[in-house]
């Protein structure tokens, strides 16, 4: 069966192994992993960034994160009895994978807030939390959102690996395709994964634009593009 026939076959759009269910599983795993990553990374990065402490940690964790092979982590996690195979191992591995970009970008965003602006805020009698919430985070939003976007797209794309440790998601098609030596299935799985990642990218790019404070939109477009690169390659 060719790839086009596979996609147009109504049987592939229903049931446990249908495209909607598998896609939704992929989204669920990704959302869970991202939620976990944000719960861990944001408080740490916001605290460090506000206090301007731990530059070394915050910027180098990105390197460590990129150096660790996700597949290896996934296998190790799945082999721990308390975690076992299935969604939990996948979610943990993907969360670990998502933490570095979120942490590094959030820290960079906060640390990049103009000293004079912070000083003025303090000098006018804003509290530490007030400065964080009303000045630092809004000004860092473009970078924070970029970090979350990068992480999410990576997670969505990588979530297909989860099928290797027995969870659901679009990776099932690929893994099953290998097992059945069915190239159509492998390609279909790959196409669906890529498509979902592209959709995630487009949606989040919109969200990023939407959450960026108006005063920053035109002004710092170029500046943000430039900053994103060091944050990602440090």
């Amino acid at each position: 069966m060719g790839v086009i026939e596979w996609f147009t076959d109504p049987a592939n759009w229903t049931g446990e192994n249908g495209i909607p269910v598998r896609t939704w599983q992929q989204i669920e795993i990704s959302l869970a992993a991202m939620a976990l990553a944000l719960i861990v990374a944001l408080p740490v990065a916001l605290t460090l960034g506000h206090l301007r402490k731990g530059v070394f940690l915050a910027t180098n964790i990105g390197n460590v994160g990129r150096a660790v092979p996700t597949l290896g982590v996934l296998t190790i996690l799945a082999s721990i009895p308390e975690i076992g195979i299935g969604n939990l191992a996948a979610i943990l591995a993907l969360a670990l994978f998502a933490i570095p970009p979120v942490l590094t970008n959030t820290y960079t965003g906060l640390a990049g807030v103009d000293d004079e602006v912070r000083d003025a805020a303090r000098g006018m009698g804003m509290s530490g939390m007030g400065i964080l919430a009303r000045v630092e985070v809004p000004l860092a939003v473009p970078l924070i959102a970029a970090g979350i976007r990068t992480a999410t797209v990576q997670v969505v794309a990588t979530a297909s690996l989860a099928a290797l440790v027995g969870s659901g998601g679009l990776g099932r098609y690929v893994v099953d395709g290998f097992a059945l030596q069915d190239n159509t299935l492998i390609i279909a799985g790959a196409i669906l994964t890529a498509a979902l990642a592209v959709v995630a990218e487009l949606v989040l790019a919109g969200v990023q634009r939407w959450v960026t404070p108006r005063g920053l939109r035109e002004q710092s477009r170029a500046q943000i593009e430039v900053q994103e690169i060091p944050a990602a390659t440090h």
Binding site: E116, A120, M126, P138, L139, G215
Partner: protein, 315 residues
């Protein structure tokens, strides 16, 4: 009133930025802290609103020891202006100006009225500029917004760290003139940090000259600092043209003018008695006849009289 008593600041690395400084700034007075780079001006100023805590000594604002007050309450009662204004880039001009009023919990209609009033005060049309973002303003306009923001909650005290340092000389002159006019209306107690002696002379009612290591060299009226520097350091710092500078801040000593009067004829330039000796000298130099006429008395003044008049206007 602001008073500093034996205030010393030593940074953790051992640098003594301010050394046993005692300074009294009366209510409604503009005090210019002036001195070379690194002499401790900014540190002195920032101790007043506790952005820096002194190592020893006491600081009072209107009779209250600043350490006895809640630090945020204190800062909300002290206007704060810095070199590049430090405006919030994600806030409109209106929202920037409203910052302290919001922190103080004013209601929205009151804030809106106040913001427009403040923008008017610094000569920015609220309808044109109110909804702009800082990056849509010129440097001078940003600085005006910074001043409006600092004054919005009507604080009795205003701290300014090189507020006109980042704008070009022509815009600076204008901002300085406007600030003086504004001060006539609002009469705050102002601490103004500058490394520019001309700015200090122009804006300050009192000048505190500081020297490296945080020493206060001289604290007096501008004419006194220029006319009678108490040390070689001050004499050197105020410059070899200090006599000329002093003319600018010396009023015409009415009772020391001679008895000779002249008629207001063409070629004689008239100078009001409220002008400075500098204006008078300029008029005598410019007049074809070498004579200027002081109004309303009609007294005649010649170039050669200026030296005597300057002696007579000793502070």
């Amino acid at each position: 009133m602001i008073s500093l008593q034996d205030v010393t600041k030593q940074y953790p690395d051992g640098t003594v930025a301010v050394h046993d400084l005692t300074l009294e700034i009366d209510e409604g007075v503009i005090c210019a802290l002036v001195g070379p780079s690194g002499c401790g001006k900014t540190t002195t100023m920032r101790m007043i609103n506790r952005l820096i805590e002194p190592t020893s000594g006491t600081i009072q604002v209107n009779g209250d020891d600043v350490t006895a007050l809640d630090v945020q309450e204190l800062r909300r009662r002290i206007g704060y202006v810095i070199q590049n204004a430090g405006l919030f880039p994600h806030y409109t001009v209106r929202k920037n100006v409203a910052t302290v009023c919001r922190l103080l919990g004013w209601d929205e209609p009151r804030i809106a009225d106040r913001v427009d009033e403040m923008l008017g005060l610094v000569d920015l049309d609220p309808d044109t500029f109110g909804d702009r973002y800082p990056h849509q303003l010129s440097g001078g306009q940003r600085q005006r917004v910074g001043v409006a923001r600092a004054l919005a909650a009507d604080p009795p005290v205003l701290l300014m760290d090189e507020p006109f340092g980042a704008v070009d000389p022509i815009a600076r002159e204008r901002l300085q003139d406007e600030f003086l006019a504004l001060h006539q209306r609002v009469r705050k107690t102002v601490v103004l940090v500058t490394h520019d002696i001309d700015e200090a002379v122009k804006l300050g009612d009192r000048i505190a000259v500081m020297r490296q290591g945080g020493y206060l060299e001289q604290f007096d009226r501008p004419a006194a600092v220029l006319g009678f520097p108490t040390s070689d350091f001050v004499a050197d710092f105020v410059g070899s043209d200090r006599a000329i500078k002093r003319l600018r801040v010396s009023p015409i000593p009415d009772d020391a003018l001679g008895d000779e009067t002249i008629e207001p004829v063409p070629g004689v330039i008239e100078v009001p008695v409220t002008a400075s000796l500098y204006d008078l000298l300029a008029a005598t130099l410019q007049a074809d006849s070498g004579v200027a006429r002081v109004t309303p008395s009609g007294k005649a003044v010649r170039v050669g009289d200026i030296d005597r008049l300057m002696m007579a206007s000793r502070p």
